[in-house]
């Protein structure tokens, strides 16, 4: 058979956050991407949310830059209203048929003016708003939609149903974009790999009348609640009772609606995200109105993720959210005024009746039928819970080679896991298609840049409403009018969302039309949004650094939301300062430097090996540094994954692959000693073995230094030999040691060293681990008595299946949260465990042959050293702190350094592997560029003012400054300093230290900052405002 060529393009099915991430990573790594989305716009579920946990960031705000990035990427082709018909061929060379359904609006003509929608006579339920509002038959999915093009709903449109009717949109559309004769089109696309990011739908609670959804108007779903709270929602963030629009005083969240339920639905699994989003929603409303009574009714609070338990505790202790451990059986009406009655049992077993205004159903996630059918058609296997069947060892690989999967289609998961999955899928695709990298991508030459040096500043000020985030507090009209009065301001405009894609086009247009040469964006934070606007400036043909952002949201509207007048005044101040600064900004050029095409991976556990292997497969040189004498890390102690896959066999294979790969060089008994350089060009010194040193040059770093286990101090550990830690027990179990072989009674104790004051976090994998051990014990000998003493069983996602299996096998679960931890005593020939039952509230006594302690996972003690070397932050538990919990889960604010595995946070094997692949994707994406642009925010020395005193040399944390001696024209010896442009990070410490004003940081010069300060203190303005 003839060798088929590998095609350097990929198909990503599903335009949610996971698919978008996969698309962006792939497109930036040198592959052309077709992003197929079944609705009219990408974005998936995230744009519907108000905020995201645990950071409480505005969801729309953080996703908007990614939407725009996808929308304008030259190597991503977005295909909306499209579905995949079939996939033929094999890995590396597939032919896909995609059906594109008619939009009835010509996207090349539509200018999204909205006149069509304004005059459309037909209104229908708006599914984007979870049906709490209406939309027209011709509509855009949401205001920031990408692509921002109208579409006609053929189910609703009068004209499409009857050619003699309506058609008003076509009559009034200014560019004549309406095309009622649009037809579906089939495309045949050749690609090398497929990424299935099919997403999820929320459970429809109207299937069971018992919760009153669809019966009583004041019972709503959590997604509807998000839309009520959302500043871009139909109520502008105002929450009222749906029945009578009266203020809400008492809210009850009911957990596990459509999850962990074999009765009302067949969703046995846990949806993994509902506990956290309920806490978030509860906190959000409590924050707005602390008087509200907000209760969350739950079974187990499943908050095992990073910073999740702290979030939970904060909601309970600081916000006063009530957490009631009782599953609510149903919702009943109370009276005729819309009140709702809950009848439940307290933990003590007493009846309680509560009346609430609003019931929020925390609906679970499930795979839509259409997606299951598509999966069947493509030929990928599904789990009994109707998610893509994946191996824990290959968490983004489907059963079909060349077809990858990510996001909630792989099982219910939150945004970071979906983002990680998207990147991980991209890494796997990159490894597969590496021979064809850069064969189908194109680079667009930047438009010629206008020289503004001789022009007088013509400043454009763009004031963002950010939905109601800003406009709900600040009087934006007044602010805009004020901005127009400022010197050199040539143009002022207001935008609903300045970051939306259509606004970028508008910005470009205004810059060109009005001849603007400096831009002030009065919106949010430059940390997340400046890169977006800089690209816009670039495409408009002016230097990307001629921009200043005035943060009138985070630092103004959000913090002064109770004082609109103060906020409006402050917004003016901030804009005045930005205008003052922007006028003296100068054009700068980023530094372009070549990237060393190699990666240093620190830590030879599963995460490290996975990242190393993937990057090697992508064709990069890898230096894998391992502190011990063997590869494998913590996985050496593991037996099986949650779904029963054999870890030792997998580990053996992985080690061999790593050891045999020609591009991977493993340094054993090695540690990192010193680091210098920067992204693209790190120079790292490692100590190998007996005090030998080696210097490695590399373009990127992946930190996979793992974690260590907690050595228990409680429960008589170390004193009674029959009390063992779970990892020790696994070994005993593996060898069927007498304690296990003859054991008749086993007691597992959970949360040993986790979730306490000292370590207020969940070790995430212990519940699953103990349950698995218990199941194995029970299956070996069903007569064994097995007890698991726990606080919250956190078998999140599809792991719930093993919890169910364990109970079915008769394993006894006893919750010790309420009555305190169990007591352990030595007893004749065993251990006596005393614990109180959480249902009967009576003491129980168990004679155990072995007591197994599920000990916590601790941050590696070496993390601190590495953090210092690479200038990385650690969280308060000692784990590496990623750049952004949601959208940058493997990156740091230090470029070129990535993290994966237990070094980031305790997690099970498949999540470590996913994260390692994601880190590899990021490193690969960086190295694929071959060249890197460094920020030109660097210190510039003025040789006239600098007298070479050298004060700055001592304070520079980056060793970027050196002393230079030279002679002037007359031969006099002079001194000055030289700043290494690459090493300098622009921190400005030198600027502060210099007594002569001899050094300035570009973009933050004395003059610019002084102008800002003067503007801030401008008395005339203050007086004017007072008057």
């Amino acid at each position: 058979m003839a060798e088929q060529t590998t095609i350097g393009a990929a198909l990503v099915v599903g335009g949610g956050i996971s698919g978008m991430q996969a698309a962006l990573d792939l497109a930036d790594s040198g592959y052309y991407v077709y992003l197929v989305e079944k609705t009219g716009a990408i974005g998936g579920a995230m744009p519907q949310y108000n905020k995201v946990f645990p950071t409480n960031d505005c969801s729309m705000c953080i996703i908007a830059p990614k939407l725009v990035e996808c929308g304008r990427h030259p190597n991503i082709r977005i295909m909306t209203l499209s579905t995949v018909l079939d996939v033929a061929g094999r890995a590396g060379n597939f032919t896909v048929r995609v059906r594109e359904y008619p939009r009835y609006v010509d996207v090349t003509k539509c200018i999204a003016c909205g006149q069509c929608s304004g005059s459309c006579p037909k209104s229908v339920d708006d599914s984007f708003n979870s049906n709490i509002a209406k939309r027209k038959a011709i509509y855009i999915k949401y205001p920031q939609a990408v692509p921002l093009k109208y579409q006609i709903d053929p189910q609703a449109c009068l004209r499409l149903k009857n050619p003699d009717k309506c058609g008003v949109c076509a009559e009034i559309c200014p560019p004549g974009a309406i095309n009622f004769n649009d037809r579906e089109r089939d495309h045949e696309i050749k690609i090398g790999a497929v990424v299935m990011a099919l997403g999820f739908q929320t459970f429809d609670p109207s299937k069971a009348k018992v919760w009153g959804y669809g019966v009583y108007p004041n019972v709503i779903t959590s997604l509807q609640f998000e839309r009520y709270l959302s500043p871009n929602g139909p109520t502008d963030g105002l929450l009222t009772r749906p029945s009578d629009r009266k203020p809400v005083k008492r809210i009850a969240f009911l957990q596990c609606i459509g999850s962990r339920d074999k009765n009302r639905c067949n969703n046995e699994y846990c949806s993994a995200v509902c506990c956290m989003y309920a806490i978030k929603e509860a906190m959000t409303v409590k924050e707005a109105n602390p008087e509200l009574d907000v209760a969350i009714f739950y079974m187990d609070m499943r908050t095992p993720g990073k910073e999740f338990d702290r979030y939970f505790e904060r909601a309970k202790n600081e916000y006063g959210v009530r957490f009631v451990r009782s599953r609510i059986h149903g919702v009943e009406p109370k009276g005729t005024k819309g009140d709702l009655r809950l009848h439940y049992i307290s933990v003590q077993g007493k009846q309680v009746e509560e009346t609430v205004d609003l019931v929020v159903l925390s609906v679970g996630l499930e795979t839509p039928d259409s997606m299951v059918k598509l999966a069947e058609k493509i030929g990928i296997h599904m789990t009994p819970d109707r998610f893509a069947s994946i191996s824990a060892f290959m968490p983004v690989h489907t059963s079909k080679r060349g077809v990858f999967t990510c996001g909630a289609f792989n099982g219910p998961r939150d945004i970071p896991q979906s983002v990680i999955g998207g990147s991980a899928a991209a890494a796997s695709v990159s490894a597969l298609l590496a021979p064809a990298r850069h064969t189908l991508t194109r680079t667009l030459p930047p438009p010629p840049e206008l020289d503004v040096r001789r022009q007088t500043p013509r400043i454009g000020v763009f004031v963002c409403h950010c939905g109601t985030n800003i406009a709900g507090v600040v009087d934006v009209e007044e602010v805009a009018a004020y901005a127009a009065t400022l010197p050199q301001v040539a143009h002022v405009a207001r935008n609903l969302f300045t970051c939306a894609q259509d606004t970028q086009d508008l910005l470009v247009q205004e810059i060109r039309d009005k001849g603007l040469n400096r831009i002030v964006i009065a919106a949010c934070t430059p940390r997340t949004h400046e890169p977006l606007f800089r690209k816009t400036l670039k495409s408009a043909g002016i230097n990307e650094y001629l921009i200043e952002m005035a943060n009138i949201r985070n630092q103004n509207a959000w913090v002064h939301n109770q004082q609109p007048e103060v906020a409006t005044a402050k917004a003016k101040d901030l804009i005045r300062m930005a205008v003052a600064k922007v006028s003296s900004l100068t054009a700068r050029k980023p530094l372009r430097i070549p990237i060393a095409p190699s990666v240093l991976v620190i830590g030879g556990g599963v995460a490290g090996m996975t990242a190393a292997l993937n990057l090697a497969q992508q064709g990069f040189q890898i230096h894998l540094v391992e502190k011990t004498t063997q590869l494998g890390g913590n996985a050496l102690h593991l037996f099986q994954t949650w779904n029963g896959e054999h870890v030792p066999r997998y580990l053996k294979g992985l080690k061999e692959e790593v050891q045999q790969h020609p591009l991977i060089e493993v340094a054993y008994t090695s540690t990192v000693l010193a680091v210098s350089g920067h992204v693209g060009n790190f120079v790292t010194t490692i100590r190998t073995g007996a005090n030998r040193k080696r210097v490695i040059e590399h373009g990127a770093v992946i930190i996979t230094t793992g974690a260590k286990r907690y050595i228990p101090e409680e429960f008589e550990y170390g004193k009674i030999p029959k009390v063992v830690a779970s990892i020790e027990f696994d070994k005993l179990h593996m060898h069927n040691e007498t304690r296990v072989a003859n054991g008749k009674s086993f007691v597992f104790i959970q949360c040993v060293g986790s979730r306490n004051q000292e370590r207020p976090y969940c070790s995430k994998s212990c519940c699953t681990h103990s349950i698995q051990s218990a199941i194995k014990l029970k299956k070996e000998a069903p007569s064994r008595q097995i007890y698991i003493l726990y606080r919250e069983i956190r078998t999140y996602g599809q792991r719930e299946r093993i919890y169910n299996q364990a109970r079915e096998l008769g394993i006894v679960f006893i919750n010790y949260e309420m009555h305190g931890p169990p007591r352990i005593k030595k007893a004749d020939n065993g251990v006596l465990v005393e614990v109180w039952d959480h249902v009967l509230h009576r003491p129980l006594e168990i004679r155990a042959d072995v007591v197994i302690l599920a000990a916590a996972t601790l941050a590696s003690p070496e993390a601190g050293d590495l953090a210092t070397l690479f200038k990385l932050p650690l969280n308060s538990d000692g784990f590496f702190q990623e750049a952004h919990v949601k959208l940058r889960p493997v990156e740091f604010n230090v470029d070129g350094v990535f993290v994966a595995g237990l070094a980031h946070y305790p997690k099970p094997l498949e999540e470590s592997i996913s994260q390692a692949l994601a880190a590899a994707a990021k490193a690969g994406r960086l190295l694929a560029r071959k060249e890197i642009n460094l920020e030109p925010n660097i210190a510039l020395v003025d040789p006239v003012l600098c007298d070479g005193c050298g004060l700055c040399i001592d304070v520079c944390p980056y060793q970027a400054i050196t002393l230079v001696e030279y002679r002037d024209g007359e031969g006099n010896p002079l001194k000055t300093v030289h700043v290494d442009q690459v090493l300098c990070k622009g921190c400005g410490i030198c600027q502060g230290a210099c007594p002569k004003r001899g050094v300035d940081v570009a973009g933050f010069t004395y003059a610019q900052i002084e102008a800002q300060i003067d503007a801030a203190l401008d008395q005339s303005c203050v007086l004017e405002e007072d008057a």
């Binding site: 596990c256 009782s326 599953r327 077993g349 009846q351 309420m818 009576r842």
Partner: protein, 492 residues
């Protein structure tokens, strides 16, 4: 400490009616003294005892400082109960994991059960005790007999725990002399004498004959009670309570049969359809009683069976037929009251006058015909009784919740015959509230138990001021009788 409260406050606190509070005080269940301002003074200990009995959180603690706080966890309560030793179970109550092992202890069942907390027990605790092997304690407990076996707990259970099966096993395990006497006596009498109340054959036959003559003399000319008619299409059983206490109630069905021209008969022997073996957990009795009915059908060569007395009679008989005599189900058809009445209506054999009943009516779902039939036999009778009720009563309202989620009247599972009357009334408080919130003045039901509880107990206790009718009573009263007073007898 003295707890001071008005009757109204106490009623609200315990979710019952003022009458119930007054009854408690008058009967000494709640020792209280009249105080100033129409308040009652109650010793804290007595108040606490009442709270414990009915599963309520006391509003005040023994120490005024703890007012309003949740009750402290038992560990800090001082009195520590003896530890339960967990060991491998010997001769356990159950072996199938679905009866308890799979329980999540989520509390749904206990939240749904109207008598949760009574005697400090609830369905979740019952399941837990069975799971942990506290079998003896369970068998000794009265709680499983206060339970009405309504199955609301099961219908809400996310793990489909078979709570009713478990409850029946607990009841089965009890020494027969400790079974509530009225129930046990009913079973024994039925086995010995053919019917629960031991009515002699002669008395029964005379009564039936006289009743038939009365009917013939009034609305159904030519009617004669068909006893042991061989070859009649349908065998109809009788609830012994009817000939014993309210014989006239038999005439409703007879009148309908007459109007419909039904070919039917009553057996002179073993005519009882009530089957309390279901309640007492006596499977052998249950089987024996059902076998007698089968024998009657075979002896009289009938093709169909109607058990008109009560939901449990239908449920027990059908259950027994499916379990022990599946071949019988091939030989004859088991009618529910609903199927039969709807068949008459559909075939035009009876005509109903919707102008007879003008008051707002509602239908109270029977647990046995409703959710329990749905679960056990695959069909619950929800739509059928509503269609019939609406055909008689143009003014109709549903209770909330209803159908599968309906609340039990409080008297099922043998509770009407059990000595735990106070708990039965307490159980019924939710039903009473549902009815009074619905505004219905006529409550239609398809069970003897439900009717008795609603009409004679809850109506009075909660001042409901309602009329309660059997569904067939409603139909009989709405019948448009042919001028000559009856159709031709059809032979099926």
């Amino acid at each position: 400490m003295i707890y001071e409260a008005k009757v109204n406050d106490l009623a609200e606190e315990f979710g019952v009616h003022r009458n119930t509070i007054r009854n408690w005080i008058n009967s000494g269940v709640l020792p209280a003294q009249e105080g100033p301002g129409r308040r009652y003074l109650i010793q804290w200990e007595d108040y606490k005892r009442l709270c414990d009995k009915y599963g309520r959180e006391p509003r005040i603690g023994p120490d005024p400082a703890t007012v309003g706080e949740a009750a402290p966890a038992p560990r800090s309560n001082g009195a520590v109960p003896a530890a339960v030793r967990l060991e491998a179970k010997v001769n356990p109550l159950y072996t199938a994991p679905a009866l308890a092992d799979v329980c999540l202890a989520c509390g749904s069942c206990a939240g749904a059960c109207p008598i949760s907390g009574v005697d400090d027990l609830d369905p979740r605790k019952i399941v837990r005790m069975a799971f942990l092997g506290l079998d003896e304690e369970l068998v000794e407990s009265d709680w499983p007999w206060k339970c009405t076996m309504c199955g609301k707990c099961e219908v809400v259970c996310p793990m489909n725990v078979e709570i009713l099966q478990l409850m029946r096993r607990i009841r089965s395990r009890r020494e027969r002399d400790k079974v509530p006497p009225a129930i046990q006596k009913g079973v024994v009498t039925c086995l010995e004498k053919g019917n629960n109340l031991g009515i002699p054959k002669d008395d029964f036959l005379i009564l039936l004959k006289e009743l038939g003559e009365e009917l013939a003399g009034s609305s159904c000319p030519g009617f004669a009670t068909p006893i042991d008619v061989r070859g009649a299409r349908m065998l109809v059983t009788v609830n012994s309570k009817q000939p014993f206490a309210e014989p006239d109630s038999l005439k409703w069905w007879w009148k309908i049969f007459h109007a419909a021209g039904e070919s039917w008969t009553i057996s002179s022997e073993y005519w009882e359809g009530v089957n309390w073996g279901l309640h007492s957990g006596d499977y052998s009795a249950m089987r024996t009683i059902v076998k007698r009915i089968i024998d009657n059908i075979e002896r009289l060569n009938c093709k169909a069976l109607l058990l008109p007395e009560c939901g449990h009679a239908y449920y027990a008989t059908r259950y027994a037929l499916e379990r022990w005599f599946p071949e019988s189900l091939q030989q004859f058809k088991v009618y529910t009251v609903f199927d039969l009445l709807l068949e008459y209506l559909a075939e035009g054999r009876i005509t109903l006058d919707p102008s007879v009943h003008t008051r707002l009516a509602t239908f109270h779902d029977s647990c046995n015909y409703g959710r329990k039939s749905l679960k056990t036999f695959g069909h619950g009778y929800f739509d059928e009784p509503r269609a019939l009720t609406r055909a008689c009563c143009p003014q109709y309202v549903d209770l909330a919740p209803d159908r599968e989620e309906n609340y039990c009247c409080g008297a099922g599972g043998g509770a009407w015959a059990s000595p735990f009357w106070a708990e039965r009334v307490f159980h019924g408080r939710i039903k009473a509230r549902q009815i009074s919130e619905s505004g219905a003045k006529l409550v239609v039901t398809s069970c003897q138990n439900c009717r008795d509880q609603l009409q004679t107990s809850l109506n009075r206790e909660f001042n409901l001021n309602i009329e309660v009718q059997f569904l067939w009573e409603l139909v009989a009263n709405s019948l448009v009788m042919a001028p000559q007073g009856g159709g031709e007898v059809r032979h099926g």
